[in-house]
């Protein structure tokens, strides 16, 4: 999405989540298709035993949010939770992250505060997270927490700086933290 969508389209953010089973995407997409909606951007994945869908959809104006909510009632009756948010003009377009992009990977024995402490350090320096995943791996006796996040560094901040910022958390949380550049190469 390098340019903004046309003025004649209404945009909505939709989240659909529920106990995983085959057919959640098809059931949801069928409703959108019958309404004449476009799926502009989406990210759908399994989270625990749930399947979670997050979509940005568009429809030619005029189009009321209530129409979506009405049609999604069928999904809710199937046990799915649905949320619809109307988007303002300034939240429609994807803004490619500026500055160096880095991948921060954190892993160590599971304990409260890993996500909070790391992301607070980043937020305090205006480092913008663009993607984040966490997962509990390892065995039941020895759970290992893994977090991988991608973040755009503000101007003037290097990957080494970012590594330095997180250094003290390694000891405090007894986790491994590594930061590496993943700024895409254009070929």
């Amino acid at each position: 999405m390098s340019e903004c969508r046309k003025d004649n389209l209404a945009h909505f953010a939709v989240t659909i989540i529920g106990k995983d089973r085959p057919g959640i995407v098809a059931d949801s997409a069928e409703i959108l298709y019958r309404l004449g909606c476009n799926v502009e951007d989406s990210s759908c994945t399994m989270l625990g035993g749930n399947f979670a869908m997050i979509l940005i959809i568009s429809h030619e104006k005029p189009f009321a949010k209530a129409r979506l909510s009405d049609e999604f009632r069928a999904l809710q009756e199937m046990g799915l939770s649905v949320y619809v948010r109307a988007l303002h003009e300034d939240e429609i377009c994807y803004r490619p992250p500026q500055g160096e992009l880095c991948l921060v990977s954190v892993y160590g024995s599971d304990k409260p505060g890993i996500v909070y402490r790391v992301t607070r350090e980043l937020a305090d320096r205006r480092i913008n997270i663009t993607d984040l995943n966490t997962r509990l791996i390892g065995s039941k006796e020895e759970p290992v927490y893994v977090m991988m996040l991608e973040a755009a560094l503000p101007e003037g901040l290097t990957v080494l700086d970012a590594e330095g910022i997180l250094e003290k958390l390694k000891k405090e949380l007894s986790v491994e933290i590594s930061v590496r550049v993943i700024t895409p190469v254009s070929l």
């Binding site: 999405m1 390098s2 990210s43 994807y94 490619p96 992009l101 993607d131 995943n133 997962r135 791996i137 893994v146 991988m148 993943i182 700024t183 895409p184 190469v185 254009s186 070929l187």
Partner: protein, 148 residues
């Protein structure tokens, strides 16, 4: 395969012009400009990642990878697929045999970013986009590592 003639020199010039016109571009393949011939150009000498180790401007006609070694993952973007990037695994060292701009047979060994760029451009000659080489659109790396 390409028979070497004057037309090839013109095509190579077009490819170089296209590459120079794309900001930060380090390579272009003939199919990207609508010519279905096995020709591509690569030049990583002006890029941050490639400037310390490269063969300058390379015009590759009928290129073939003869040997490859190692593997490394890099996040690639491509002017033919704007606004999308993906983590692609490529060989870290390759030996390539090709005809150069003058029609001479040459063999070079490329490493690092230059090796990645050559493999990316050569994929275009087979109609392969980096999108065909990634396992998952966004989090291929992470998912693969944690699910296995």
């Amino acid at each position: 395969m390409v028979a070497f003639d004057r037309g090839i020199s013109v095509l190579i010039e077009d490819l170089v012009d296209t590459m120079r016109a794309g900001p930060g571009s380090v390579g272009v393949a003939a199919p990207q400009i609508g010519v279905t011939l096995r020709v591509c150009v690569v030049d990583v000498s002006n890029s941050r990642l490639g400037r310390d180790c490269n063969h300058g401007l390379l015009a590759l006609v009928n290129p073939e990878i003869i040997t490859r070694e190692g593997a490394n993952i890099m996040r690639e973007g491509c002017m033919s697929v704007p606004d999308y990037t993906g983590d692609v695994e490529r060989s870290t060292l390759i030996t390539v045999r090709f005809l150069d701009q003058a029609g001479n047979s040459r063999e070079i060994t490329a490493i690092g970013f230059e090796a990645v760029a050559i493999q990316h451009e050569m994929d275009h000659l087979d109609g392969i986009l980096f999108l065909d080489r990634i396992a998952s659109l966004k989090t291929g790396l992470f998912r693969r590592k944690t699910y296995k």
